[in-house]
Protein backbone atom coordinates (compact mmCIF):
# COMPACT_ATOMS: atom_id res chain seq x y z
CA UNK A 1 0.00 0.00 0.00
CA UNK A 2 1.68 3.16 -1.15
CA UNK A 3 1.63 6.12 1.13
CA UNK A 4 1.48 9.49 -0.55
CA UNK A 5 4.10 11.25 1.54
CA UNK A 6 3.98 14.41 -0.51
CA UNK A 7 0.29 14.77 0.08
CA UNK A 8 0.73 14.17 3.81
CA UNK A 9 3.48 16.75 3.95
CA UNK A 10 1.38 19.24 2.06
CA UNK A 11 -1.47 18.54 4.41
CA UNK A 12 0.72 19.34 7.38
CA UNK A 13 2.07 22.55 5.83
CA UNK A 14 -1.29 23.68 4.60
CA UNK A 15 -3.04 23.13 7.90
CA UNK A 16 -0.18 24.77 9.78
CA UNK A 17 0.37 27.84 7.64
CA UNK A 18 -2.14 28.39 4.90
CA UNK A 19 -5.29 27.29 6.63
CA UNK A 20 -3.99 28.15 10.03
CA UNK A 21 -6.67 27.35 12.56
CA UNK A 22 -6.40 30.66 14.30
CA UNK A 23 -5.85 33.07 11.47
CA UNK A 24 -8.08 31.66 8.81
CA UNK A 25 -10.53 29.35 10.58
CA UNK A 26 -10.97 31.26 13.83
CA UNK A 27 -10.81 28.29 16.09
CA UNK A 28 -9.40 28.17 19.56
CA UNK A 29 -9.62 31.90 19.92
CA UNK A 30 -10.47 31.89 23.62
CA UNK A 31 -7.34 29.98 24.37
CA UNK A 32 -5.41 31.89 21.78
CA UNK A 33 -6.17 35.21 23.42
CA UNK A 34 -6.27 33.79 26.90
CA UNK A 35 -2.89 32.16 27.20
CA UNK A 36 -0.80 34.19 24.81
CA UNK A 37 0.20 36.73 27.40
CA UNK A 38 3.37 35.04 28.56
CA UNK A 39 5.79 33.08 26.47
CA UNK A 40 6.19 30.27 28.97
CA UNK A 41 2.50 29.46 29.10
CA UNK A 42 2.23 29.78 25.36
CA UNK A 43 4.94 27.19 24.84
CA UNK A 44 3.45 24.82 27.42
CA UNK A 45 0.04 25.20 25.89
CA UNK A 46 1.33 24.55 22.39
CA UNK A 47 2.98 21.30 23.39
CA UNK A 48 -0.03 20.09 25.31
CA UNK A 49 -2.38 20.99 22.49
CA UNK A 50 -0.32 19.28 19.87
CA UNK A 51 -0.26 16.04 21.83
CA UNK A 52 -3.93 16.07 22.73
CA UNK A 53 -4.93 16.92 19.19
CA UNK A 54 -2.98 14.09 17.64
CA UNK A 55 -4.17 11.48 20.11
CA UNK A 56 -7.80 12.54 20.05
CA UNK A 57 -7.76 12.71 16.27
CA UNK A 58 -6.46 9.14 16.16
CA UNK A 59 -8.96 7.85 18.69
CA UNK A 60 -11.84 9.65 17.04
CA UNK A 61 -10.89 8.34 13.64
CA UNK A 62 -10.85 4.76 14.91
CA UNK A 63 -14.17 5.10 16.67
CA UNK A 64 -15.80 6.99 13.83
CA UNK A 65 -14.60 4.96 10.87
CA UNK A 66 -14.60 1.54 12.47
CA UNK A 67 -17.64 1.71 14.71
CA UNK A 68 -19.91 4.61 13.91
CA UNK A 69 -19.84 4.56 10.12
CA UNK A 70 -20.54 0.82 9.86
CA UNK A 71 -23.37 1.14 12.37
CA UNK A 72 -24.68 4.26 10.63
CA UNK A 73 -24.38 6.33 13.78
CA UNK A 74 -22.68 9.32 12.14
CA UNK A 75 -25.22 11.76 13.51
CA UNK A 76 -23.97 11.07 17.00
CA UNK A 77 -20.48 12.29 16.20
CA UNK A 78 -20.66 15.48 18.22
CA UNK A 79 -21.57 13.67 21.41
CA UNK A 80 -19.15 10.85 20.78
CA UNK A 81 -16.21 13.09 19.90
CA UNK A 82 -16.62 15.34 22.86
CA UNK A 83 -16.89 12.24 24.99
CA UNK A 84 -13.67 10.88 23.56
CA UNK A 85 -11.83 14.14 24.07
CA UNK A 86 -13.13 14.55 27.59
CA UNK A 87 -12.30 10.98 28.51
CA UNK A 88 -8.85 11.20 27.01
CA UNK A 89 -8.04 14.48 28.67
CA UNK A 90 -9.27 13.15 31.98
CA UNK A 91 -7.18 10.00 31.74
CA UNK A 92 -4.16 11.91 30.50
CA UNK A 93 -4.56 14.09 33.53
CA UNK A 94 -4.57 11.11 35.89
CA UNK A 95 -1.76 9.26 34.13
CA UNK A 96 0.46 12.30 33.97
CA UNK A 97 -0.04 13.01 37.64
CA UNK A 98 1.08 9.48 38.47
CA UNK A 99 3.83 8.98 35.93
CA UNK A 100 5.49 12.36 35.64
CA UNK A 101 4.58 14.85 38.32
CA UNK A 102 7.10 17.30 36.90
CA UNK A 103 5.47 17.29 33.51
CA UNK A 104 2.09 17.46 35.16
CA UNK A 105 3.14 20.47 37.12
CA UNK A 106 4.26 22.12 33.90
CA UNK A 107 1.48 21.16 31.53
CA UNK A 108 -1.32 19.86 33.71
CA UNK A 109 -2.84 23.24 34.28
CA UNK A 110 -3.56 23.55 30.60
CA UNK A 111 -5.21 20.17 30.36
CA UNK A 112 -8.19 21.39 32.33
CA UNK A 113 -8.76 24.13 29.78
CA UNK A 114 -8.72 21.83 26.83
CA UNK A 115 -12.01 19.97 27.00
CA UNK A 116 -14.03 23.08 26.47
CA UNK A 117 -11.93 24.20 23.57
CA UNK A 118 -13.33 24.16 20.13
CA UNK A 119 -10.04 23.60 18.38
CA UNK A 120 -9.65 20.12 19.79
CA UNK A 121 -13.15 19.06 18.84
CA UNK A 122 -12.83 20.72 15.46
CA UNK A 123 -10.04 18.43 14.32
CA UNK A 124 -12.01 15.15 14.52
CA UNK A 125 -15.09 16.88 13.16
CA UNK A 126 -13.13 18.21 10.20
CA UNK A 127 -11.51 14.82 9.64
CA UNK A 128 -14.88 13.14 9.65
CA UNK A 129 -16.29 15.74 7.29
CA UNK A 130 -13.41 15.38 4.82
CA UNK A 131 -13.34 11.55 5.03
CA UNK A 132 -9.60 11.57 5.60
CA UNK A 133 -7.67 8.32 5.92
CA UNK A 134 -6.07 7.53 9.21
CA UNK A 135 -2.69 8.95 8.23
CA UNK A 136 -4.26 12.02 6.73
CA UNK A 137 -6.18 12.58 9.92
CA UNK A 138 -2.97 12.38 11.90
CA UNK A 139 -1.19 14.69 9.46
CA UNK A 140 -4.01 17.18 9.69
CA UNK A 141 -3.91 17.02 13.46
CA UNK A 142 -0.15 17.53 13.53
CA UNK A 143 -0.34 20.44 11.12
CA UNK A 144 -3.15 22.04 13.01
CA UNK A 145 -1.35 21.61 16.28
CA UNK A 146 1.85 23.08 14.88
CA UNK A 147 -0.05 25.95 13.35
CA UNK A 148 -1.84 26.65 16.57
CA UNK A 149 1.42 26.50 18.51
CA UNK A 150 3.10 28.80 16.01
CA UNK A 151 0.26 31.28 16.28
CA UNK A 152 0.36 31.13 20.06
CA UNK A 153 4.10 31.66 20.24
CA UNK A 154 4.15 34.53 17.76
CA UNK A 155 1.27 36.14 19.57
CA UNK A 156 2.91 35.71 22.95
CA UNK A 157 6.18 37.22 21.81
CA UNK A 158 4.40 40.23 20.34
CA UNK A 159 2.17 40.68 23.34
CA UNK A 160 5.16 40.73 25.63
CA UNK A 161 6.30 43.68 23.58
CA UNK A 162 2.84 45.25 23.64
CA UNK A 163 2.75 44.97 27.40
CA UNK A 164 5.07 47.95 27.58
CA UNK A 165 3.45 49.91 24.75
CA UNK A 166 1.38 53.05 25.11
CA UNK A 167 -1.78 51.52 23.73
CA UNK A 168 -4.76 53.89 24.15
CA UNK A 169 -6.77 52.86 27.20
CA UNK A 170 -9.94 51.56 25.54
CA UNK A 171 -7.88 49.32 23.33
CA UNK A 172 -5.70 47.80 25.99
CA UNK A 173 -5.87 44.07 26.41
CA UNK A 174 -8.26 42.23 24.19
CA UNK A 175 -9.18 44.81 21.53
CA UNK A 176 -5.60 45.47 20.53
CA UNK A 177 -4.94 41.74 20.57
CA UNK A 178 -7.77 41.28 18.11
CA UNK A 179 -6.41 43.99 15.88
CA UNK A 180 -2.99 42.44 16.16
CA UNK A 181 -4.44 39.06 15.20
CA UNK A 182 -6.10 40.77 12.26
CA UNK A 183 -2.81 42.19 11.06
CA UNK A 184 -1.07 38.85 11.51
CA UNK A 185 -3.90 37.24 9.56
CA UNK A 186 -3.35 39.86 6.88
CA UNK A 187 0.30 38.89 6.71
CA UNK A 188 -0.63 35.22 6.60
CA UNK A 189 -2.74 35.78 3.52
CA UNK A 190 0.61 35.94 1.78
CA UNK A 191 0.73 32.17 2.12
CA UNK A 192 -2.55 31.71 0.31
CA UNK A 193 -2.30 29.78 -2.90
CA UNK A 194 1.01 28.28 -1.83
CA UNK A 195 -0.44 24.79 -1.77
CA UNK A 196 -3.73 23.91 -3.34
CA UNK A 197 -5.12 20.66 -2.08
Amino acid sequence: MGIDWVKLFELVVSSALINNFVFTMFLGLCIFFGVSKKMETAVGMSITFLMVMVVSAALSWIVYQLIMVPLDLGFLKIIVFIGIVAAFVQSADIIMKKVSPVLYYKLGVYLALITTNCIIIAVPLHNAGEHYTFLESIAFAIGSGLGFGLALIIMASIREKLEVADVPAPFRGLPISFILAGLIALAFTGFSGLITL
Binding site: F33, I79, T116, L174, P175, A181, A185, T189
Partner: protein, 208 residues
Protein backbone atom coordinates in the same frame (compact mmCIF):
# COMPACT_ATOMS: atom_id res chain seq x y z
CA UNK B 1 -21.59 37.74 41.50
CA UNK B 2 -24.58 39.67 42.76
CA UNK B 3 -25.78 39.43 46.33
CA UNK B 4 -29.42 40.28 45.94
CA UNK B 5 -31.49 38.29 43.46
CA UNK B 6 -32.18 40.13 40.26
CA UNK B 7 -35.54 40.44 38.58
CA UNK B 8 -36.06 38.43 35.45
CA UNK B 9 -35.83 41.51 33.28
CA UNK B 10 -32.57 42.46 34.90
CA UNK B 11 -31.26 39.02 34.18
CA UNK B 12 -32.05 39.35 30.52
CA UNK B 13 -30.55 42.84 30.40
CA UNK B 14 -27.45 41.65 32.16
CA UNK B 15 -26.91 38.99 29.56
CA UNK B 16 -27.50 41.43 26.75
CA UNK B 17 -25.20 44.21 27.88
CA UNK B 18 -23.54 43.96 31.28
CA UNK B 19 -22.08 40.55 30.70
CA UNK B 20 -22.26 40.40 26.97
CA UNK B 21 -20.51 37.19 26.06
CA UNK B 22 -18.36 38.64 23.36
CA UNK B 23 -17.75 42.27 24.11
CA UNK B 24 -17.69 42.16 27.89
CA UNK B 25 -16.76 38.66 28.95
CA UNK B 26 -14.67 37.91 25.90
CA UNK B 27 -15.48 34.24 25.70
CA UNK B 28 -16.81 32.16 22.82
CA UNK B 29 -14.91 34.36 20.44
CA UNK B 30 -14.39 31.96 17.59
CA UNK B 31 -17.81 32.36 15.96
CA UNK B 32 -17.72 36.11 16.44
CA UNK B 33 -15.35 36.17 13.54
CA UNK B 34 -15.97 32.93 11.73
CA UNK B 35 -19.60 33.45 10.83
CA UNK B 36 -19.93 37.22 10.88
CA UNK B 37 -18.93 37.88 7.29
CA UNK B 38 -22.63 38.16 6.51
CA UNK B 39 -25.62 39.05 8.60
CA UNK B 40 -27.52 35.93 7.53
CA UNK B 41 -24.87 33.63 8.89
CA UNK B 42 -24.37 35.72 11.99
CA UNK B 43 -28.05 35.66 12.74
CA UNK B 44 -28.34 31.95 12.12
CA UNK B 45 -25.57 31.12 14.54
CA UNK B 46 -26.83 33.65 17.03
CA UNK B 47 -30.25 32.05 17.04
CA UNK B 48 -28.73 28.60 17.33
CA UNK B 49 -26.70 29.67 20.33
CA UNK B 50 -29.68 31.39 21.88
CA UNK B 51 -31.69 28.22 21.51
CA UNK B 52 -29.00 26.00 22.98
CA UNK B 53 -28.20 28.39 25.79
CA UNK B 54 -31.81 28.75 26.87
CA UNK B 55 -32.61 25.07 26.62
CA UNK B 56 -29.47 24.02 28.43
CA UNK B 57 -30.15 26.47 31.21
CA UNK B 58 -33.70 25.25 31.52
CA UNK B 59 -32.72 21.60 31.51
CA UNK B 60 -29.91 22.03 33.97
CA UNK B 61 -32.13 24.05 36.27
CA UNK B 62 -34.82 21.36 36.20
CA UNK B 63 -32.35 18.55 36.77
CA UNK B 64 -30.12 20.27 39.24
CA UNK B 65 -31.61 18.39 42.22
CA UNK B 66 -30.92 15.04 40.60
CA UNK B 67 -27.41 15.59 39.33
CA UNK B 68 -24.72 14.44 41.66
CA UNK B 69 -22.20 17.30 41.96
CA UNK B 70 -19.27 15.00 41.24
CA UNK B 71 -20.48 13.96 37.83
CA UNK B 72 -22.12 17.24 36.89
CA UNK B 73 -19.52 18.18 34.31
CA UNK B 74 -20.00 15.16 32.04
CA UNK B 75 -23.75 15.46 32.49
CA UNK B 76 -23.70 19.11 31.44
CA UNK B 77 -21.59 18.12 28.49
CA UNK B 78 -24.09 15.53 27.45
CA UNK B 79 -26.97 17.94 27.79
CA UNK B 80 -25.19 20.56 25.70
CA UNK B 81 -24.10 18.03 23.10
CA UNK B 82 -27.65 16.75 22.88
CA UNK B 83 -29.11 20.14 22.10
CA UNK B 84 -26.32 20.95 19.70
CA UNK B 85 -27.03 17.76 17.82
CA UNK B 86 -30.69 18.70 17.65
CA UNK B 87 -30.04 22.16 16.26
CA UNK B 88 -27.36 20.73 13.98
CA UNK B 89 -29.79 18.30 12.45
CA UNK B 90 -32.59 20.85 12.31
CA UNK B 91 -30.46 23.29 10.42
CA UNK B 92 -29.04 20.63 8.17
CA UNK B 93 -32.58 19.79 7.18
CA UNK B 94 -34.31 23.13 6.99
CA UNK B 95 -31.56 25.66 6.33
CA UNK B 96 -29.34 23.78 3.95
CA UNK B 97 -27.53 26.72 2.23
CA UNK B 98 -26.58 28.40 5.47
CA UNK B 99 -25.68 25.11 7.08
CA UNK B 100 -23.21 24.42 4.30
CA UNK B 101 -21.31 27.55 5.22
CA UNK B 102 -21.44 27.49 8.98
CA UNK B 103 -22.10 23.84 9.78
CA UNK B 104 -18.76 23.28 11.49
CA UNK B 105 -19.35 26.23 13.75
CA UNK B 106 -22.83 25.02 14.67
CA UNK B 107 -21.28 21.76 15.77
CA UNK B 108 -18.65 23.59 17.69
CA UNK B 109 -21.23 25.28 19.87
CA UNK B 110 -20.74 22.17 21.94
CA UNK B 111 -17.43 23.52 23.13
CA UNK B 112 -18.62 27.02 23.93
CA UNK B 113 -17.30 28.13 27.24
CA UNK B 114 -20.15 30.57 27.70
CA UNK B 115 -22.87 27.94 27.56
CA UNK B 116 -21.06 25.67 29.92
CA UNK B 117 -20.24 28.53 32.23
CA UNK B 118 -23.84 29.72 32.53
CA UNK B 119 -25.02 26.18 33.23
CA UNK B 120 -22.41 25.82 35.94
CA UNK B 121 -22.57 29.29 37.45
CA UNK B 122 -26.23 30.16 37.14
CA UNK B 123 -28.64 27.46 36.05
CA UNK B 124 -27.24 24.91 38.44
CA UNK B 125 -28.11 27.19 41.36
CA UNK B 126 -31.36 28.78 40.27
CA UNK B 127 -34.98 28.00 39.64
CA UNK B 128 -36.40 27.37 36.21
CA UNK B 129 -37.71 30.83 35.31
CA UNK B 130 -34.61 32.83 36.27
CA UNK B 131 -32.48 30.23 34.55
CA UNK B 132 -34.46 30.59 31.35
CA UNK B 133 -34.26 34.37 31.57
CA UNK B 134 -30.54 34.21 32.13
CA UNK B 135 -30.09 31.89 29.18
CA UNK B 136 -32.31 34.04 27.02
CA UNK B 137 -30.44 37.18 28.02
CA UNK B 138 -27.10 35.61 27.29
CA UNK B 139 -28.39 34.26 24.02
CA UNK B 140 -29.83 37.59 22.95
CA UNK B 141 -26.62 39.30 23.96
CA UNK B 142 -24.69 36.89 21.81
CA UNK B 143 -27.12 37.34 18.94
CA UNK B 144 -26.84 41.10 19.21
CA UNK B 145 -23.07 40.94 19.13
CA UNK B 146 -23.23 38.72 16.08
CA UNK B 147 -25.59 41.13 14.36
CA UNK B 148 -23.50 44.20 15.14
CA UNK B 149 -20.28 42.65 13.93
CA UNK B 150 -21.80 41.13 10.83
CA UNK B 151 -23.61 44.38 10.06
CA UNK B 152 -20.32 46.24 9.76
CA UNK B 153 -18.48 43.47 8.04
CA UNK B 154 -21.11 42.81 5.42
CA UNK B 155 -21.79 46.47 4.81
CA UNK B 156 -18.14 47.46 4.47
CA UNK B 157 -16.92 44.27 2.90
CA UNK B 158 -19.61 43.67 0.30
CA UNK B 159 -21.71 46.79 0.37
CA UNK B 160 -24.64 44.55 1.20
CA UNK B 161 -26.93 43.68 4.12
CA UNK B 162 -28.60 40.26 4.26
CA UNK B 163 -27.39 39.86 0.73
CA UNK B 164 -29.16 42.99 -0.56
CA UNK B 165 -26.95 45.55 -2.20
CA UNK B 166 -26.80 48.76 -0.21
CA UNK B 167 -23.85 50.79 -1.46
CA UNK B 168 -22.36 50.74 -4.88
CA UNK B 169 -18.68 51.11 -5.60
CA UNK B 170 -15.65 49.20 -4.51
CA UNK B 171 -16.19 47.71 -1.07
CA UNK B 172 -13.37 46.89 1.33
CA UNK B 173 -13.17 43.24 0.45
CA UNK B 174 -10.87 42.58 3.37
CA UNK B 175 -13.70 43.04 5.83
CA UNK B 176 -15.33 39.76 4.88
CA UNK B 177 -12.01 37.95 4.99
CA UNK B 178 -10.40 36.56 8.14
CA UNK B 179 -8.14 39.54 8.75
CA UNK B 180 -11.02 41.97 8.51
CA UNK B 181 -12.99 39.91 10.99
CA UNK B 182 -10.33 40.29 13.63
CA UNK B 183 -9.99 43.96 12.86
CA UNK B 184 -13.73 44.57 13.03
CA UNK B 185 -14.11 42.82 16.36
CA UNK B 186 -11.07 44.55 17.80
CA UNK B 187 -12.17 47.98 16.68
CA UNK B 188 -15.75 47.45 17.87
CA UNK B 189 -14.54 46.14 21.19
CA UNK B 190 -12.32 49.16 21.62
CA UNK B 191 -15.17 51.42 20.59
CA UNK B 192 -17.54 49.90 23.16
CA UNK B 193 -14.84 50.17 25.80
CA UNK B 194 -14.41 53.79 24.87
CA UNK B 195 -18.14 54.45 25.24
CA UNK B 196 -18.13 52.64 28.55
CA UNK B 197 -15.19 54.65 29.82
CA UNK B 198 -16.30 57.94 28.41
CA UNK B 199 -19.96 57.88 29.40
CA UNK B 200 -20.35 55.28 32.14
CA UNK B 201 -17.07 55.57 33.97
CA UNK B 202 -16.22 51.93 33.33
CA UNK B 203 -12.79 50.46 33.33
CA UNK B 204 -13.02 48.64 30.06
CA UNK B 205 -13.59 44.99 29.40
CA UNK B 206 -12.55 42.51 32.01
CA UNK B 207 -11.71 39.62 29.80
CA UNK B 208 -8.15 38.68 29.19
Amino acid sequence: MSLKPKSNWELIKNGMFGENTIFRMAISLCPSIAVTNGMKNGMALGIAVMFVQTMVNATVSLMRKFIHPKIRIPIFMLIIAGYVTIIDMLMATYARPIYKEIGLYIQIIVAFASIFARAEVFANKNKLVPAICDGLGMGIGFLLAMLVISFFRELLGKGELFGYSIIAGNPLLIMVLPAGGFLAVGLLMGFFNWIDMRFFGGKGASGV
